[in-house]
Amino acid sequence: MVSAPERFKRVSGMKTEELLREFTGRKAAGVFSAYVPFEIYHSAGYHPVYLFTWGCDSGLAAEYLPGFCCFPGRNLVEHALAGELSRLSCIVFSATCDTVQSIYDILKVILPDIPVHYLKIPALLSREIAMEYLEAEIDQLIRKSGNIEKISLRRSISLYNEKRRLTARLNRIAWEITPTDYYAIIKAGMILPVEEYNLTLSSFLREIEELNKKVSPSSSIRLVIAGSHFGEENIFRIIEESGMLVVGEFLDGLTLFRRGEVDEENEPLSALARFIFNQVATATKVNFCNRREDYLVDLVREGEADGVILLRRKFCDPYGFDAVLLTTRLEEEGVPYLIIEVDEPGYSGQIKTRVEAFLEMLEIGR
């Protein structure tokens, strides 16, 4: 029998097409952007799977996109053109950035046989009228995804809430596992059927929690990793090789929802809308009540982190602005940080050198 981390590592290393082949039993819904409630598709009988980036540019997308489109956008179009998304029963986007909107438009043309859905998420997530609008939008999405009985939606909500509780437990002990294991577990949560994920993760957590009662905390340098991330493992590998620990992640794209649970007592539609509203906004949105920089600083404090590695996506306006917002606050708080610009994935010696230099700086700072 394979161990939990092995299972998570195996699926997190699979490309979308391989994944879909592995889970052929159910129709699959490919999700590309933040804020899409997986519960909806799960309750409609789909296997919702996040469309992480995979591989490097082959040049295929250049026929459809200018060079100044971000890598996640280029990569998705490449996979669509290469026929690697053809097993999907639908693709779901949400209104996040201008790039996502364009990629949605492009995919509708190049994949005419696959329904492409788009959930309009308000830009400002801290006012009631936007909540009402979002409820109506979620309702539309539910209608598009099929006939969903309330009872089955409630069941799915409950399963995903369970997943959220497990992930919260995982985050509390993140520093006790290797960064690449941590990464693989989080990523697998966006890919594996939720039932299997919950089962595997809960037994893994029990083991680790038991084991770690006997282990004294490591004295390694502790990091929070933040920014735009769509599934590239390398940065976690570099951190691991440098001997550092990841004590928290704030990677939009790797984790869609990070705060609280969907209220199971409430009417599902408004509970889902309220849940989205209570989230820390991604860099593409504004939430005056729940600011991103506050969340990052809390994460640093809670995890007793020595510093932050911030991934800034090339050709990405929202995360370009966000990096200034976050680092301004980190500077005010005296938290050291390193910005790494990411484009195509790949193991970069230059990034490794910079991470090692950052490590040295943090060690001296200690």
């Binding site: 509708k108 936007a130 306006d317 602005f321």
Partner: protein, 390 residues
């Protein structure tokens, strides 16, 4: 006219309260409440045309903004931080900000950064992406509620109540300017065209920054009369016009005249464009002013889905008897640019139109290669000629 506009918006001369607003914002509400409005995007164009944008972008980059970020945003943020290095000595600081995302999502982040920098309130009018074939009513309703919510906020800052009758007058004036602008643009249908798109780019500032004011109406009335005279006299914007071109995207401001001259030298006239099309709209005859505004502002060209935009461009190409399309792949503007290669394919396939994609930036000169552009432009015009004559 624009000199006067900026003179009234500098230093002591500035009447307060001042709002920074995005180009597609429902400015009629502010106008009716006597707010002085300033458009950082227009300022971005001004900086671009004066070739002052690149040094400003470099200042913003030294403060941590990436080099691939929107150059209007970076230029304006830098002008806020270092007004002494900026044209006109920068812009007067705002009392509040009104951001409407019907032109892109980047403005939301830009205005958030401004709000943090100036410590002033930010109001966001959120316009969801619109596919007119899907039921647009929820979007209109959502927008109307936002206008209702916005009014008391601005009233508080303006220390006056909104007079709805006066708002209707402002909307009427705004509507007049928009209709005149639409008619001006339609003059490009004549052969030869009395107007070339760079003329429109140079004349578009009032439709962006003076909607709802008398000056815009009188300026465009005169311009329309002039164009009508040109038609009567057979005066061509490009003497010897042989090729009728469509321009897609924002202007390349630092190259405005030199670039279009290169086309004109080859008898190419830009008879129509997609950018100035954004202000060709109509408030309709809604009883409820907010209803009309909701419809107009949600249908901003760039807020529409690709298929709808494609249909609009095809109609423009047919109506204006276009023989070639030039697309500015504008590194700063993703919503305008990312679908261009697809647009290129489809216009080519469906209408047989030759297309040229020029990679540049609306205001940052670093993204424009003059020699490479000249070569590509010559090759393109040869193709246009061959196809037009075949």
């Amino acid at each position: 006219m624009m000199d006067d506009y900026y003179a009234l918006r500098s230093g002591e001369n500035t009447e307060r309260p001042v709002a920074y607003v995005t180009s597609g914002a429902p400015v009629e509400i502010l106008e009716a409440l006597g707010i002085t409005t300033i458009y950082p995007e227009n300022y971005g164009a001004l900086c671009g045309a004066r070739r002052a944008s690149t040094p400003l972008c470099e200042i913003a980059e030294s403060k941590g903004y990436p080099d691939d970020l929107c150059s209007y945003a970076k230029g304006h943020l830098a002008a806020s931080m270092k007004p002494e290095k900026a044209p006109l000595g920068g812009l007067p600081p705002p009392d509040f900000l009104l951001c409407c995302n019907n032109i892109c999502q980047t403005v939301v982040k830009w205005y958030q950064a401004l709000s943090d920098y100036y410590g002033c309130p930010l109001f966001i009018v959120d316009v969801p992406f619109l596919n007119p074939k899907e039921k647009p009513e929820p979007v209109y309703l959502y927008l109307k509620s936002q206008f209702e919510e916005l009014v008391p906020e601005i009233e508080r800052i303006a220390q006056t109540r909104l007079n709805r009758e006066y708002l209707s007058e402002v909307i009427y004036l705004s509507g007049q300017a928009l209709s005149l602008w639409t008619e001006i643009r339609s003059m490009g249908r004549f052969k030869p065209s009395p107007v070339n798109v760079p003329d429109l780019f140079m004349a578009m500032a009032p439709i962006v920054v003076m909607r709802g004011k008398n000056q815009a109406v009188s300026f465009y009335s005169e311009m329309l009369d002039e164009l009508k005279r040109r038609v009567t006299n057979g005066t061509a914007a490009v003497p010897g016009e042989r090729f009728r071109l469509l321009w897609d995207n924002i202007a390349i401001w630092p190259q405005l005249l030199p670039l279009y001259r290169l086309f004109a030298e080859r008898d190419g006239c830009f008879v129509v464009d997609t950018y100035t099309n954004s202000w060709s709209m109509n408030f309709g005859s809604e009883d409820d002013p907010f209803e009309g505004m909701a419809k107009v502002y949600s249908k901003a060209f760039i807020n529409l889905d690709f298929q709808t935009r494609l249909e609009i461009i095809k109609c423009l190409a047919r109506d204006y008897e276009v023989t070639g399309v030039v697309m500015h792949a504008n590194r700063s503007c993703k919503p305008f640019s990312l679908c261009q290669p697809l647009l290129h394919r489809l216009l080519n396939k469906d209408l047989g139109l030759p297309c040229l994609i020029l990679e540049a930036d609306m205001s940052d000169t670093r993204a424009f290669n003059v020699n490479a552009t000249k070569e590509r432009l010559s090759a393109f015009m040869e193709i246009v000629e061959i196809i037009s004559e075949s």
